[in-house]
Each structure stands twice: as structure tokens, then as C-alpha cells.
């Protein structure tokens, strides 16, 4: 049986002595979809950034893909996809140029770029600068960027912010295809109803602790 994608035990994170994550336990298997809920400042972004190896935990243990994330960060980063509050793409480059740049870093071929552009419905706008994209298009480009290397774990921080109902529905449809291919998804949102179609597990962060289910 394959190792779980995420195994977090007693994860802690402090900022200048102020605890944000107190003792977070989380286990995510391949193909799982976990939605993190919680009020503003509950620590959702912090937890996602710790899982993405962008922040070091102050304590506890984190295993990703069976590797200790602190000891073998390079081995786990190659299998992560990240979409934060911003797109992570350069506004002065076209959609295709943005993907080509990240493809080069991940040693991904041009066929995969074309596949990701077609999958995200951006092939018609691929040669326009990102700054001319709508919020929904930019978010789909961010998702295409994150999925270029076929990650085993996709981390999304508030992916529906600023999207209208149609753009949200389209994004949920794309996430459903990603999940169907076996990619685990962990995302934060203030609006869990938008992802009901994915039948996700929900977990709520409150006072630095994570509890399964909605508050």
C-alpha cells in the first residue's frame, strides 16, 4: 500500500513567539480532497505554506510522500503544486511564456505545456500577456502552472477569491479532473459550498488546532 501523501503530527508554527498552529495532525491519501475551513487568522494559509515547505514548522513532524519534509525537501518539492493568493505568474509574460518558463525549471516538455493550456481552456489566449487576463483566466493559468509537473499534492489557498459563479464552477470542474487522476488536493476556502461537487473531507482550524468536519 502506498504511503499517504501527507502525514503531519503535532505540527506547530509560531510567529515571533505567537502560536498560530498549536498541534496540527493531518493525514491525506492520494486522490483525497481536503478543504480547510476557519475564520480569518485561524492559520489556514500558514498550514498550507508549511505543507508547501515555504515555512518551516516550529515543531512537530511532517512527512510528504513518505519523506521527512525537513530532511529531504528537494525530494518532496518536485511533487508539489502550489497556488497561493496570487497567481505566481509574471504579468508581463504571456500565458504560454509563463508555462514555458516553469516547464524549463521542471524539465517538462512542450507537449505538456500545450496539454495544460488546452485543459485549462486558455489555448486561445495563450499568446496574450497575463495582465490582460480576467481573474478567472489568471486563476486557471495559475492552476495550469502548478499542474505542469503532474504533482502528487496540489495546495490551493483561497482559490475562489474574486471569481464569479461561472468561473468558480469551471475551476471546480478542473479540480475534479485533477483529483480523478490521483492527485491529492488540500485547499482553504471561506465558502465550502462551492466545492460540494468534489465531495471533499472538511477540516476546521480553530485556536491553532485542526478538527475534522465543519465547526
Amino acid at each position: 500500500m502506498a504511503a499517504p501523501v501527507v502525514v503531519a503530527r503535532g505540527l506547530r508554527r509560531e510567529y515571533a513567539g505567537v502560536p498560530v498552529l498549536v498541534a496540527v495532525d493531518l493525514e491525506v491519501a492520494a486522490g483525497d480532497c481536503v478543504v480547510l475551513l476557519g475564520s480569518n487568522g485561524a492559520g489556514k494559509t500558514t498550514l498550507l505554506r508549511v505543507l508547501a515547505t515555504l515555512l518551516r514548522p516550529s515543531g512537530g513532524a511532517l512527512q510528504l510522500f513518505g519523506h521527512d519534509a525537513a530532511r529531504r525537501p528537494a525530494a518532496v518539492r518536485a511533487q508539489l503544486g502550489w497556488v497561493g493568493h496570487e497567481t505566481g505568474c509574471y504579468p508581463d509574460l504571456t500565458g504560454r511564456e509563463n508555462l514555458r518558463f516553469h516547464a524549463r525549471l521542471h524539465a517538462v516538455d512542450d507537449a505538456r505545456i500545450a496539454e495544460c493550456l488546452a485543459w485549462s481552456g486558455l489555448d486561445g489566449a495563450a499568446d496574450r500577456p497575463l495582465r490582460t487576463y480576467s481573474r478567472g483566466m489568471a486563476q486557471r493559468l495559475a492552476l495550469a502552472r502548478a499542474l505542469l509537473p503532474r504533482p502528487g499534492l496540489l495546495l490551493l489557498d483561497e482559490p475562489f477569491t474574486g471569481l464569479d459563479a461561472d468561473a468558480s464552477a469551471r475551476l471546480v470542474g478542473l479540480l475534479a479532473t485533477v483529483r480523478a487522476e490521483g492527485t491529492a488536493i488540500v485547499m482553504s476556502t471561506h465558502d465550502p459550498a462551492r466545492v460540494d461537487e468534489l465531495s471533499p473531507r472538511t477540516a476546521t482550524l480553530a485556536r491553532g488546532r485542526l478538527r475534522e468536519g465543519r465547526a
Binding site: 508547501a52 528537494a74 518539492r77 505566481g88 505568474c89 518558463f101
Partner: protein, 223 residues
């Protein structure tokens, strides 16, 4: 690592050639500084060449600070740095790519500002040019090696416009002293042979801080 560094460089140059924001702002500042220095001092034609090394290096320092800050703002906008760090990219490759981009941008600025300095300060460039190019490139590399490292520190804080000069300028003193001395010797017709000590200082600074940048950049850009 080299492939990733070249990808970062190519991306930065593509953005710069498309927007011209970095080059335009530093060239405008550089031309302005040279004009102000030459008008403020109003030197006689015989005195003017002695002023040139100071004008060249002060102009280079101020424009360089502007260029370095801009190179990291590009990564901060849209949180592009996080997208780079969640992936297999070696931070040392990011450092080398950024360093090369900054060296090229600053060299382009020098190529535009130097002839203007020579014109306004009556400097005879023809014989001194090969030696001057060597001195400017050595100083450029040393400045960019240190500034790229500290630029990555400064971009993470709110008061980055203040923090970068405060952190950087004291450490740049050896580059500036070496650069001014070597430039003065070359412009005085002594050639590189007349500035071996200053050239050695610049070369040593380049090696030390480029190596430090490659080794330390991961600690700087990651939490």
C-alpha cells in the same frame, strides 16, 4: 543548475526588454546624476578628468541600488517567488540567474552613462577604454554579487527602500574604494598595471561574495 539559472536570466531579460522599466529608470537617474555633478562642480577642462572616477562610481552605486530593488520586485509581484520555491529549483540557480541579469542591466547602464561622463568631464576614453571596461565589469560583478544577496533580504520587509542601502553600502566600501582607485589609475594612463592592488581587491571581493551568495541564498530566500 546552469539550465535553471539561464531560464531565470532569460525570463528576466524578456520582461525587461518588454517593459524597459528597469533600464529606463536607471539610465534616466544615471544621466541626471552625471549632469548634476558636472554642473555643480563646474570644473575646468584640466581639473575635470580627476573628478570622473568619483562621478562614475557614485552614479553606478545609486543606479545600482535602484536596479537591484526592481529585480526582486518582479518576483514579489504575484508572489512569483513562492511559485519558484515550491519546486525543484535550486535557490543557488535563482541567485546566479538574478546576478547575471543584474550584471547585464548595470553594464547596459554603464555603457550609456560612461560616454556622457567622458563628454562632460573632458575624459579621453580612447586609450583607456579596454582597461576601464575591465575595472567597471569587476566592480559591477562585486556590486551585483552583494546587492543580489541583500536585495533578496530587503524585498521581504516593508521598509525595503531604506533597508537595502543601510545593509549594503557599508559592505560595498571595498568595491567602491577599489573601483575609484583603479578607474583613476586607468584614466591617468597607467593602465591596469598601475592599479594591480585595486584590481586585486575587486577580484577578491567578486570571488568572496559570489561564492557567499551561491552558498547563502537559500537561507535568505527561504523562511
Amino acid at each position: 543548475m546552469i539550465g535553471s539559472a539561464l531560464a531565470i536570466l532569460a525570463k528576466d531579460l524578456r520582461i525587461e526588454t518588454r517593459t524597459r522599466e528597469g533600464l529606463t529608470s536607471i539610465v534616466v537617474l544615471g544621466v541626471l546624476l552625471v549632469l548634476v555633478f558636472s554642473v555643480a562642480h563646474d570644473p575646468t577642462p584640466s581639473e575635470a578628468p580627476r573628478l570622473a572616477p568619483a562621478v562614475i562610481w557614485v552614479t553606478f552605486t545609486f543606479t545600482g541600488l535602484l536596479a537591484i530593488q526592481r529585480s526582486f520586485v518582479v518576483e514579489r509581484e504575484q508572489d512569483c517567488l513562492a511559485a519558484l520555491l515550491v519546486g525543484p529549483l535550486d535557490p543557488a540557480a535563482l541567485y546566479v540567474g538574478k546576478l547575471l541579469g543584474n550584471v547585464i542591466l548595470l553594464a547596459a547602464m554603464q555603457a550609456m552613462v560612461l560616454p556622457l561622463t567622458a563628454l562632460l568631464l573632458h575624459v579621453e576614453l580612447a586609450g583607456a577604454l579596454p582597461g576601464l571596461i575591465v575595472v567597471l565589469l569587476l566592480g559591477n560583478l562585486g556590486f551585483a554579487a552583494l546587492a543580489t544577496l541583500f536585495g533578496a533580504v530587503a524585498v521581504r520587509v516593508r521598509a525595503r527602500e531604506v533597508l537595502l542601502p543601510v545593509l549594503l553600502l557599508p559592505l560595498l566600501v571595498p568595491v567602491l574604494v577599489g573601483g575609484v582607485k583603479a578607474t583613476a589609475a586607468v584614466l591617468a594612463g597607467e593602465g591596469l598595471a598601475g592599479a594591480t592592488q585595486a584590481i586585486g581587491m575587486l577580484g577578491a571581493f567578486d570571488v568572496i561574495f559570489t561564492t557567499a551568495g551561491v552558498l547563502l541564498f537559500e537561507q535568505v530566500v527561504r523562511d
